[in-house]
């Protein structure tokens, strides 16, 4: 049963999964990073507290995060069709992945930035630094390690979501696992895809932690 077709299919699955995960994470950060920064800055005790802005972002983040991903995936089908032109396949899956990832990423960015010692921010203010400079040169730099750890966690979660999209023909390893393992009872193929998913998560996790530690100057 390990025909050339099956092996080809699994290879494609790996590529699709990596593609969906990385593109969705990247796009997620393009939107989620600014959202996280705004959440941190506008909160009470932030650089520029703004109760209304904070509340709006807070509610958006909570709404999206409280919808289970599979439901979100289905809810977003019309929207995905508008954006990508179809509702199945790996490119189409990226759309709901990003939508789900943005609030999640924003929350992680927010909490990373809030970990930065307020004394350092105060010192920057005392030197005459403006808010934008403090965000870019102090908050994002000092929180670097925590932010990278966040990226690692985000990749793991998004990879998991992408596999879940397999139930509705989302492409990638998850899709293979559902089609062969669930519909055709070929559990050997399913096991292989699951193992591959585990390996992928491990790889991303180790690389992320390695980079985070390498860039952390707080010890030694």
């Amino acid at each position: 049963m390990w025909t050339k077709e099956v092996i080809n299919m699994i290879e494609m699955g790996i590529l699709e999964t990596v593609y969906m995960t990385l593109v969705a994470t990247f796009a997620g950060y393009i939107l989620g990073l600014p959202m996280g920064v705004l959440l941190c800055v506008s909160d009470k005790g932030g650089l520029k507290p703004n109760a209304v802005l904070y509340k709006v972002l807070d509610i958006i983040a909570n709404i999206v995060r409280s919808v289970p991903f599979l439901i979100l995936l289905i809810l977003l089908i019309p929207f995905t069709r508008v954006v990508v032109g179809k509702s199945y396949g790996s490119s189409a899956t990226i759309v709901p992945l990003v939508v789900a990832a943005v609030p999640f990423i924003a929350r992680m960015v927010e909490s990373s930035l809030k970990e930065v010692d307020s004394g350092v921010v105060e010192a920057a203010k005392s030197m005459g630094a403006g808010n934008l400079r403090i965000i870019i040169k102090v908050l994002l730099v000092e929180a670097r390690t925590s932010l990278i750890t966040g990226v690692t966690i985000a990749i793991g979660t998004i990879l998991g979501y992408s596999a879940m999209a397999g139930t509705v023909g989302g492409g990638g390893l998850g899709d293979i696992a559902v089609r062969y393992g669930y519909y055709r009872y070929q559990s050997d193929i399913m096991m292989v895809t699951v193992i591959l998913l585990i390996v992928l998560v491990q790889l991303f996790q180790s690389t992320g932690m390695l980079v985070a530690n390498k860039l952390d100057k707080r010890k030694k």
């Binding site: 010692d117 004394g119 350092v120 105060e122 010192a123 920057a124 203010k125 005392s126 030197m127 005459g128 630094a129 403006g130 400079r133 040169k137 102090v138 730099v141 000092e142 670097r144 390690t145 860039l215 952390d216 100057k217 707080r218 010890k219 030694k220």
Partner: protein
């Protein structure tokens, strides 16, 4: 015109338990070139006061006038510009932990839009001044507390400020390091004529470098003036308490200095308890032998509920009666031992 004028400044914080008045009608004038100490127990409002001086905290009432400019009237941009005139250092140094020492010092220079090359050159000069240029490439985590504070001082001086605000700058440091940092600050004050505001709870800090001092309690200034006057004639209870705490560390150093200066005869330390304190031992000694005995230090401490007295006596340089006098002291039931400050210090 004073460099910093605080006029009727009050600051109230809203907390869960209601409004807390951190500052209450504070008035202070600080002249250019002063090293001005602001001292008080924790919670006295001194840190809030120093933050009002560069508007990190906005006073609820009153005016803060720095170099003739009323900070409350300035726009955000203008205020940030003014802050470049006022360096600030902190108890916990507040360095950028992910940046090298050199980049930390460059930070305020980049704010002033200085080019990278120029900034690095200037930062190295500053690190030279604070005596830590060999650590330029190190990260703050690799430095000791004293070294971190030196970096923070270099960073605070980078924008050529006229004023340096120090918020408990030596409170996280051990006594030796504290002395070294204070010496550096004094040196900076002398060399560059920078006005220094020292927030502290340690009287020893005020005594060592401040020429003027304000004593705060519960958000109010209870006493202010020249350090010497306040030390000689403390008029408030808080001041006396703060002075009292200071005596301990003070006397040992003073005796060391005296010892060097007078080069007298043998010194002994006597310890007496409550009972022997009734007898005028030293006076009797002087009367009997007809020669002066110098009292370098006298102190009474409460040791486990018993009053224990300690005195350091010095005999005349060429006295022939030293042994006889020592014996008499022993006979009166006192414990005596030869006192040598240097040895004493090494023990610690």
């Amino acid at each position: 015109m004073s460099e910093i004028v605080i006029e009727h400044v009050s600051k109230a914080f809203k907390t869960k338990d209601g409004i807390v008045n951190a500052l209450n009608d504070v008035n202070i004038e600080i002249d250019a070139g002063d090293i001005f100490g602001i001292i008080g127990m924790s919670g006295a409002g001194k840190s809030t006061l120093v933050r009002c001086m560069n508007f990190l905290e906005t006073p609820t009432e009153g005016k803060v006038i720095v170099q003739g400019l009323e900070l409350g009237t300035l726009s955000g941009k203008r205020l940030r510009k003014q802050r470049e005139q006022m360096g600030m250092i902190f108890q916990h140094f507040n360095l950028l932990m992910q940046k090298t020492v050199l980049e930390n010092v460059c930070f305020p220079l980049y704010i002033k839009k200085m080019s990278r090359g120029e900034a690095r050159k200037k930062a190295l000069e500053l690190l030279e001044i604070v005596g830590i240029s060999d650590k330029a490439k190190a990260y703050p985590a690799q430095l000791s507390g004293g070294q971190k504070q030196r970096v923070a001082i270099a960073r605070a001086l980078a924008s050529d400020p006229k004023i340096l605000l120090c918020d408990e700058a030596t409170s996280a440091l051990d006594p030796q390091t504290t002395s070294a940092i204070l010496k550096l600050l004094k040196d900076i004050n002398d060399r560059f004529g920078i006005t220094i505001v020292m927030i502290t709870h340690q009287m020893s800090v005020v005594r060592e470098i401040c020429n003027k001092v304000a004593i705060m309690k519960e958000g109010q200034v209870v006493e202010k003036g020249c350090t010497v006057d306040i030390f000689n004639h403390p008029s408030s209870k808080v001041t006396r308490e703060l002075l009292h705490d200071d005596v301990e560390t003070d006397s040992a150093q003073m005796i060391a200095r005296l010892q060097k200066e007078i080069q007298g005869g043998e010194k002994i330390r006597i310890v007496y308890s409550e009972n022997s304190a009734f007898e005028p031992v030293v006076a009797n000694l002087i009367l009997q032998y007809g020669e002066p005995v110098n009292i370098l230090k006298a102190d009474t401490k409460n040791v486990g509920g018993i009053a224990k007295g300690e005195m350091i006596l010095e005999f005349m340089k060429d006295s022939e009666n030293v042994e006889a006098m020592k014996n008499q002291l022993k006979a009166s039931g006192l414990e005596i031992e030869t006192y040598n400050y240097d040895a004493d210090k090494e023990d610690k």
